[in-house]
C-alpha cells in the first residue's frame, strides 16, 4: 500500500514538473563596437522588447545598433520566439501573446494580420503620439499613406514602408488619352511618363490590389457589403454577372495563382461618386530593379513632384492603398514602454536609419524587398536617386546595357505573344464600374472568399452557387 502511494505521488510530481515555465533566451545583440561612438551614460536603462519576424529581423539588428548608439538610455531586446520564425508562425505567436498579456512593446504588423485587434483598440493611436510629440512633423511623411492604415479615424499601425505595384496616376490627363493604353508595357509606360512630364501634371505611386482574378474579385465583393449595417447582397445578379465576366476573360495562365505572388498587368477604371476617374496603372509585381530604374530613372527631375499613393487634390477622397507586404509597427495599449517604442519607430521611419551617419546605404540594408517604399519623404527621394544613379552607371557599362536591352527585348516578345488574350481581357475588365479599395476589411474576407472563388474558377460550382455560398458565409461573418 505504501509503495502504491509513493508511486502515485512520484507520478504526480513528475507530471507537474513538466509544466514549468520556459526560459526566455535573449536574442544575441549585434556587436556595434566598430562603429559605436563612445557616449558615457550612467543613468537608468530601459529595456525595450520588440518583435519582428524572421523576415525583417536581420535588417532590424543593424538598425538597433544604430539606434542604441544615439539613445544610450534605451536597450532593445528581441526574443527568438518572435524573431526567428516565419511570418505565419509569427502572427499566431503575437496573437497568443496579446491574449496572454505577455506582449512586446513594439511589434511588426504584417499586412492585415492584426485587424481584429486593431478594431478592438488593443493598440495605441499613433495620431495621439504624433500630436503630443513636438519633434514630430507629419509633413515629413506622406500622410495619405497614414490614411490608408487608419481604423475608424485612428492610426494603430505606423507604416514605416509600404509596397506598390502601380506606378503612376495622373489627375489631369484626359480620359480619352488614357484609354489608348490598355496594357502597360515598357514602351507605353515610357510614353505615359513622357506625357506626364510634358503636361506638367503631378503624379504619384499608388498601391494596387494583387492583380489576379480571385484576389481582385474579393476586392470587388466589398462593393456589395455594408459593414455598418452588417448586410450584404453578394447573391445579387450584378455580382453574379461580374463572376461570369471574370470567368469569360482569358487571363494569362499565371494570373490565377492563388497565392497572389504573381500578378498580371491589369487596367482598372476607378470611378468615384463625384464623377472623377483616375486611371491606375498596374505593373507586374516582382519587377526587377532594372525595370524600376528604367521606368522611373530616365529623368530624375520629373520626379520632384512624385508622391506615393493617389494624389488627392480637389477635395475628393483619396484612394486608399492596400496594406500588402508592408512594414508597419504597432504598440500594444498595455506596453510598458510606449514612449521609448515611439522613439524607436520615429528612428525606423526617419532618414537617420538610412544614413547611419555616413550617407545612404552605409552598409545598412534598409528593406527586405526592393518593392518597399519609405513613408518618409526625404528617404523616399534619396532612395530613388540612389537607384537611378546605379542604373545610370550600369547603362554606361556596355555589357550591362546590352544585358538590359536583351532582357527588355525578351520581355517584349513575351508580351506580344500574349497580346491578343490580354487585350481582350483588359477590354472586358475595363467595363467595370468601380472598385472600393477598403484595405481594412479586404484581408479579413480574403480567407473566407478565396476557397469559393477557387472552386468557381476551377469549374466545380456555378456563378450562382458561388454567389449564394459567399452571401451565406459573409453574412455569418459580419454578424458574429
Amino acid at each position: 500500500m505504501k509503495k502504491t502511494i509513493l508511486l502515485l505521488f512520484a507520478l504526480l510530481i513528475f507530471i507537474l514538473s513538466a509544466c514549468g515555465e520556459s526560459t526566455t533566451i535573449v536574442f544575441p545583440e549585434p556587436d556595434p563596437a566598430a562603429n559605436r561612438t563612445e557616449i558615457v551614460y550612467d543613468g537608468p536603462v530601459i529595456e525595450l522588447l520588440i518583435a519582428s519576424s524572421g523576415r525583417e529581423h536581420p535588417m532590424m539588428r543593424q538598425k538597433i545598433a544604430l539606434f542604441e548608439k544615439t539613445h544610450p538610455h534605451i536597450r532593445i531586446k528581441s526574443e527568438p520566439r518572435f524573431s526567428s520564425i516565419d511570418d505565419d508562425v509569427y502572427i499566431d505567436k503575437i496573437k497568443t501573446a496579446l491574449i496572454a498579456g505577455d506582449f512586446p512593446d513594439l511589434l511588426l504588423n504584417i499586412g492585415g494580420a492584426f485587424l481584429s485587434q486593431r478594431d478592438n483598440n488593443m493598440f495605441i493611436d499613433f495620431y495621439e503620439m504624433m500630436d503630443n510629440d513636438p519633434d514630430f512633423d507629419q509633413d515629413d511623411y506622406y500622410t495619405n499613406v497614414f490614411e490608408a492604415y487608419e481604423t475608424n479615424g485612428r492610426l494603430y499601425a505606423f507604416p514605416v514602408n509600404f509596397t506598390y505595384s502601380t506606378v503612376a496616376i495622373n489627375t489631369n490627363m484626359p480620359r480619352s488619352t488614357l484609354r489608348k493604353y490598355n496594357r502597360m508595357d515598357y514602351i507605353s509606360s515610357l510614353e505615359m511618363i513622357q506625357l506626364f512630364s510634358e503636361t506638367g501634371s503631378s503624379f504619384g505611386i499608388d498601391v494596387n490590389l494583387s492583380a489576379n482574378a480571385p484576389y481582385s474579385l474579393t476586392g470587388k465583393m466589398l462593393d456589395f457589403i455594408d459593414f455598418d449595417r452588417k448586410e450584404c447582397n453578394i447573391n445579387s445578379q450584378e455580382f453574379i454577372n461580374i463572376l461570369k465576366t471574370f470567368k469569360s476573360v482569358d487571363f494569362p495562365a499565371d494570373s490565377l495563382v492563388m497565392s497572389g505572388s504573381k500578378g498580371v498587368t491589369l487596367w482598372k477604371d476607378v470611378s468615384h461618386p463625384a464623377g472623377r476617374t483616375d486611371k491606375l496603372y498596374a505593373f507586374r509585381r516582382g519587377i526587377s530593379p532594372y525595370e524600376i530604374q528604367y521606368l522611373l530613372g530616365f529623368d530624375k527631375d520629373a520626379f520632384t513632384n512624385t508622391i506615393p499613393v493617389a494624389y488627392s487634390g480637389g477635395g475628393l477622397e483619396p484612394i486608399s492603398p492596400k496594406e500588402n507586404f508592408d512594414i508597419s509597427y504597432c504598440i500594444p495599449a498595455g506596453a510598458k514602454h510606449k514612449d521609448e517604442a515611439w522613439q524607436f519607430i520615429k528612428f525606423l521611419s526617419g532618414d537617420v536609419a538610412s544614413l547611419g551617419g555616413d550617407g545612404i546605404m552605409a552598409g545598412v540594408t534598409l528593406m527586405s524587398s526592393e518593392l518597399l517604399i519609405p513613408t518618409n519623404k526625404k528617404l523616399f527621394k534619396q532612395i530613388f536617386e540612389y537607384k537611378a544613379n546605379i542604373f545610370m552607371d550600369d547603362l554606361a557599362n556596355p555589357d550591362k546595357a546590352a544585358d538590359f536591352a536583351t532582357y527588355l527585348g525578351r520581355y517584349e516578345k513575351v508580351l506580344r505573344d500574349r497580346d491578343k488574350n490580354i487585350q481582350q481581357a483588359y477590354e472586358t475588365v475595363h467595363r467595370w464600374n468601380s472598385m472600393s479599395l477598403t484595405s481594412m476589411h479586404y484581408q479579413a474576407l480574403l480567407d473566407t472568399a478565396l476557397p469559393v472563388f477557387e472552386a468557381f474558377f476551377e469549374g466545380f460550382i456555378t456563378a450562382e452557387a458561388a454567389a449564394e455560398d459567399l452571401q451565406n458565409k459573409i453574412w455569418l461573418k459580419l454578424n458574429e
Binding site: 507530471i15 483598440n121 488593443m122 498595455g334
Partner: protein, 297 residues
C-alpha cells in the same frame, strides 16, 4: 460450521473504511486534478475575459460582452438551429431506435448480423465517416452520379444539409440507443404480457400499458444520451462544411469556434456562459424528471 470472517469488514471496521476511501481518492486524484486544471478552473477564470473589453486595455465593461453576444444575429441563428437540431435529433433518436429494438426483439434469425450493422457506425472514426459522406453527398458524390448527373449540386452546402446532418447523426448514434432500449425491453417480465393476454388486452393495449410504461427508465437514459450525442456531431459538421456552413446547419459550436479563431475571447467566454446557463436549466429539468421516474419505479 465455521464462518470465515472477511479480511476487512468494510462497514464495521473504521480503519478498513479509511484505508479503502483513502486509496480510492488517491486513484481518482489524477482524473480529478485533470478535470479541475483543464476544465473547471479555466471555465471559472474565463469570467474575467467575459467582463473586460480586451486583453490589452483590460477595462471592466460589465455585461457589455454578454449584450453584444445576445444582440448578434449570428448567435440568434446558431441558437435557433441548435435548439431545432437537438429537438429533431433527440426525437428521431428515440423513435427510430425504439422501432428497431422492437423488431430485433422479434427477430431470432441473424440477430448478430443486425447488431453488427447498427453498432458498427459507432466505432468508425470521424475522419473516415466524413470521407464517406463526402463521397455520397458531395459535388462528385454518389447521389449526383446516380440521380443528378447533369445538374450536380453540393448537397452539404444546400438547404437540405440539415436533413443530411440529421441522417448522419442517426446513422452514427442510433446503435447506442438501440442497445439501451433493447435491454430495457428484455427487462420487462413476460408474465405481465401473459396476464394481459389472459385479461383480454389487445396488442395495442399491451404496448401502451406495459411496454411504454416499463420502458420509461431505459427511454429516459436513451433520451439523455441522445441529448449529449447531439452536441458531439459538430465535429463531423465542421469537417464536412467548414467554419461557415450553410445557414441551416450553423450551430452554437460554429459561433464559438469562430470567435476563438478570431481570438475574440471576450465574446467566446460570454457565449460559453450563456450556453452553460441554458444547459444547466435543461439538466435541472432532467434531474427532476428522473427523480419522479425513480419514485414510480
Amino acid at each position: 460450521m465455521v464462518t470465515k470472517k472477511p479480511y476487512c469488514s468494510y462497514k464495521k471496521n473504521r480503519h478498513c473504511r479509511i484505508r479503502g476511501d483513502g486509496a480510492l481518492s488517491l486513484l481518482l486524484l489524477p482524473s480529478i486534478m485533470g478535470l479541475l486544471i483543464f476544465y473547471i478552473v479555466p471555465f471559472i477564470l474565463s469570467i474575467y475575459n467575459a467582463v473586460i473589453d480586451n486583453p490589452a486595455n483590460r477595462n471592466f465593461v460589465g455585461l457589455q460582452n454578454f449584450a453584444a453576444v445576445i444582440g448578434s444575429e449570428s448567435f440568434h441563428l446558431a441558437l435557433f438551429n441548435t435548439v431545432i437540431f437537438t429537438g429533431v435529433c433527440v426525437v428521431f433518436n428515440l423513435v427510430f431506435p425504439f422501432a428497431i429494438a422492437l423488431l430485433l426483439n422479434r427477430i431470432k434469425v441473424m440477430q448478430n448480423f443486425f447488431w453488427l450493422i447498427f453498432l458498427l457506425p459507432m466505432v468508425i472514426p470521424s475522419g473516415s465517416m466524413v470521407f464517406l459522406w463526402q463521397k455520397v453527398f458531395g459535388l462528385n458524390g454518389l447521389i449526383n452520379l446516380l440521380f443528378f448527373k447533369d445538374i450536380p449540386k453540393d448537397w452539404i452546402n444546400s438547404p437540405v444539409s440539415f436533413f443530411i446532418i440529421v441522417f448522419i447523426f442517426l446513422w452514427k448514434y442510433a446503435g447506442y440507443n438501440i442497445v439501451l432500449l433493447f435491454a430495457g425491453l428484455n427487462q420487462i417480465p413476460n408474465e405481465y404480457y401473459e396476464y394481459a393476454e389472459v385479461e383480454g388486452a389487445g396488442n395495442w393495449r399491451k404496448f401502451t400499458s406495459i411496454t411504454l410504461i416499463y420502458l420509461t427508465p431505459a427511454a429516459f437514459l436513451a433520451f439523455v444520451m441522445a441529448l449529449i450525442n447531439s452536441s458531439k456531431i459538430y465535429r463531423e459538421i465542421f469537417s464536412l462544411a467548414g467554419a461557415y456552413p450553410h445557414q441551416n446547419i450553423y450551430l452554437l459550436q460554429h459561433y464559438m469556434y469562430n470567435q476563438f479563431s478570431a481570438i475574440n475571447y471576450q465574446k467566446l467566454a460570454s457565449s460559453s456562459y450563456i450556453v452553460t446557463v441554458g444547459f444547466v436549466l435543461v439538466v435541472l429539468c432532467l434531474f427532476f424528471t428522473q427523480r419522479k421516474i425513480s419514485e414510480n419505479f
